[in-house]
Amino acid sequence: MAQRVLILGIGNVLWADEGFGVRCVERMADQWAFPDNVRLLDGGTQGLYLLPFLEEADVLIVFDAVDYGLEPGTMKIVEGDEVPAFMGAKKMSLHQTGFQDVIATARLMGYCPPDLLLIGCQPEELEDYGGGLRDIVAAQIEPAIRVALDKLAKLQIVPTRGEGDKSLLADKSILRSAYEDGRPSEDEAYRYGDERFLPAEVE
């Protein structure tokens, strides 16, 4: 059976570079469509809500902004058992405590994915509530995605070009472009929520 892969972006999009992880999965879904055994999820700053997704995965790839005390924009790739420890290296924000606990809890319950990969990026700015990604961090989105694609290639998973499944990503009103441009037109940021759930009268 094909390995089930969860590609998770975590962090708070409202806190500048903290949104890095979430923006990575967003961009990935813009460009690539994956087979059914791969799931892309915007995990936000959630904790236990993420457990069911971990349970249904054999491989976990996490994008996140992590403070390693490096130069802003530096990428840091960590694999396997080191992942939880690295995420707690320096506790710059809430979601990491939460996510470390999620991994610990999943292990206690016996359903933590055995194969872990953390694709981290050193943030430049966090103290800008409501701000978007800084250029130097945004520039790492593509390289970060390539790391994930390499990992998928090793698992013999080949994506196809074009937009993928976005059903587990952020509402359109806070996707990166809508969020950062602030005042999107209706075409850019569909106002009615998720199209799949549109009440008939709206159309």
Partner: protein, 596 residues
């Protein structure tokens, strides 16, 4: 010594203990207390060390999108902020919602209450009372007997089951991954349970983890996804189509049946596990009646779960609305969140500045201008505070007051208000629990009372959820499949200027969003969140807040191990993520406790 207007004697002469950060909570908070020679807390200072900035981001945005932003401010109560937000916008623009939307929103909101209460008790709070390391010493057979005595109808009770769990725990602890159980004070004499009770409760910790995965499916079904379910101004974003099975995303009978089965599972768990555990664990701590704080004298609830759509009158709400002040339970005051004289925020002891000192601002006129400065008696530096000066500004949390009173909000406040109002379900539950435990009414004004009220409320919410599920199904069977009113979706239908307020009872207490809309955009947006009420610093008059009051006069077994402080603070289910934003990125990894 100083006596506060709300009746607490503060004495700062004893040694100072600093706990920073307080662990197992959502967000970042710090607490300082002075203890006397006998280890009794004689002064308490609670501070949010993060800044709240939501107001800044929402200005200029489309009000119909506000829910998606507010959903991101917290890692726990996503849906409750979203619901409060759509209610505020609907109130401002005069938008009504259909009956099915009311039922579905109530089911979602009740689901969040139940999920949060169960997760809070087992995964954040239980470890203040339960010692999982001690559970390794339990006899599985005796644990099985205890389980059958405590809850005869719970099917998971065999000695073999408890032996398996114990082995799993043992492996987990021995592998060095204490993880979620680390940072405990496991040899502190404040822990009173025998090993068998510890094993039983730790086992339920695991059962609750499995259950919570089921509970959130309801959010996925009605909200399209979870975390971060979808919401919609004017209703709910899930169409109903019970006549087809193929429509992707539509609510059909199969999905409704799943919702129904999850509701039943929660009702069973509350009845057979959660409530019996609270009684059993509480029974070992009956003499630990600290932590009442403001609960016996000043409680506030906005009320929630309207029976009918668009009707928020107090007698139509299943979770009660009202205010109690001056310890007089014979009078329940009505609460009007629009009245500029009722809810006001003060900042004399908060790191903000208003035009004039001493003034209080109603949220519609709210101002969030940060001003970070330490008082003359603070110790340390601006970036590394050793000791706060509570006579000056000392918190990023504002001090909201109701008609000038510091108030407690949350499950216990709701239950005190409900009890005082003679709310039948609440009164029966409270009286029944007190009878079972052979305790007098004043026992509920305590840390354990707060914990018990949450369990009772989880049970009550389960029944309410079933009520609204039945109502929804009946309505659908009668041919009403409407879930949204989009008549005023287009901004051209809106007034040039409008203002509104949305209220909910979040799991941790009264939550309000106040919005001003101008030319189709958000002009001002203020959230007053439950932890702002409970975790508030002193106000202009010197009244201490609910956390501070609840810590007063508690005896600490070992002042360097703040088990008692954590117990009481956790009993509020504090959540600072939405009240604040991280001040310094260099947070300590472990809780530090400093005694000076």
């Amino acid at each position: 010594m100083v006596t506060t207007p709300n009746g607490f004697d503060l004495d700062t002469s004893g040694k100072r203990i600093v706990v920073d950060p307080v662990t197992r909570i959502e967000g970042h908070m710090r607490c300082e207390v002075n203890v006397d020679d006998e280890g009794i807390i004689r002064n308490a200072v609670s501070t949010g060390t993060m800044w709240r900035g939501l107001e800044v981001i929402l200005k200029g945005r489309d009000p119909r999108d506000a829910w998606a932003f507010t959903e991101r401010i917290c890692g726990v109560c996503t849906g409750t902020h979203a619901l409060t937000s759509v209610r505020a916008v609907e109130d401002a623009l005069g938008i009504t919602i259909p009956d099915n939307a009311n039922s579905i929103r109530n089911i979602m909101q009740l689901n969040l209450q139940i999920h949060d209460h169960i997760v809070h008790f087992y995964h954040l709070h239980a470890l203040d009372w339960v010692n999982p390391v001690n559970a390794l010493r339990a006899d599985p057979k005796a644990t099985s007997e205890l389980q059958q005595m405590v809850s005869p109808n719970h099917p998971l009770s065999s000695p073999g089951y408890f032996r398996d769990v114990q082995n799993r725990l043992k492996q987990f602890v021995e592998s060095g991954q204490l993880g979620i159980f680390k940072n405990g004070y496991w040899d502190n004499p404040a822990y009173k349970l025998p090993p068998e009770a510890d094993l039983m409760a730790t086992t339920h910790y695991l059962e609750a983890l499995d259950l919570q995965k089921e509970i959130v499916k309801i959010h996925t079904i009605f909200g399209g996804k979870n975390p971060h379910p979808n919401w919609l101004v004017g209703g709910v974003p899930c169409p109903i189509n019970v006549h087809s099975t193929g429509a992707v995303g539509a609510i059909n009978m199969e999905r409704l049946n799943l919702v129904s089965s999850i509701i039943d599972k929660c009702i069973e768990f509350n009845k057979n596990v959660y409530l019996p555990d609270v009684v059993a664990i509480g029974g070992f701590y009956k003499n630990w009646l600290y932590g009442g704080g403001l609960s016996s004298q000043a409680c506030l609830a906005y009320g929630d779960i309207p029976e009918h759509p668009n009707d928020f009158s107090a007698d139509q709400l299943h979770l009660p609305r009202g205010a109690i002040i001056n310890g007089d339970l014979s009078v329940v005051h009505d609460v009007d969140v629009r009245d500029p004289e009722q809810v006001q925020e003060f900042v004399d002891h908060s790191w903000y500045e208003y035009a004039e000192p001493g003034m209080g601002l109603h949220p519609w006129d709210g101002v969030t201008e940060p001003k970070y400065e330490l008082g003359p008696n603070a110790k340390g530096t601006r970036t590394n505070i050793q000791e706060l000066d509570e006579a000056a500004k000392y918190s990023w949390i504002k001090a909201p007051r109701w008609k000038g009173h510091a108030m407690e909000v949350g499950p216990l406040a709701r239950y005190v208000v409900g009890y005082a109002k003679g709310h039948e379900d609440i009164k029966n539950q409270v009286d029944g629990l007190l009878r079972t435990m052979d305790l007098p009414l004043p026992a509920i004004f305590s840390t354990l009372g707060r914990t018990a009220a949450r369990a009772l409320e989880s049970e009550y919410c389960g029944r309410l959820q079933k009520h609204f599920f039945d109502k929804l199904v009946t309505n659908i069977k009668n041919g009403d499949e409407s879930t949204a009113n989009v008549a005023k979706w287009d901004p051209s239908t809106w007034p040039k200027e409008a203002m509104g307020v949305g209220m909910t009872e979040a799991p941790r207490g009264a939550l309000g969003h106040w919005i001003k809309v101008k030319d189709g955009r958000i002009e001002n947006y203020q959230c007053v969140v439950p932890t702002t009420w409970n975790g508030s610093p002193r106000d202009t008059q010197g009244n201490i807040g609910a956390f501070e009051a609840a810590l007063m006069n508690t005896k600490m077994e070992r002042p360097e191990e703040p088990v008692e402080i954590l117990r009481t603070l956790h009993s509020f289910d504090p959540c600072l993520a939405c009240s604040t934003h991280v001040m310094s990125p260099d947070g300590e990894e472990l809780t530090t406790v400093k005694v000076r």
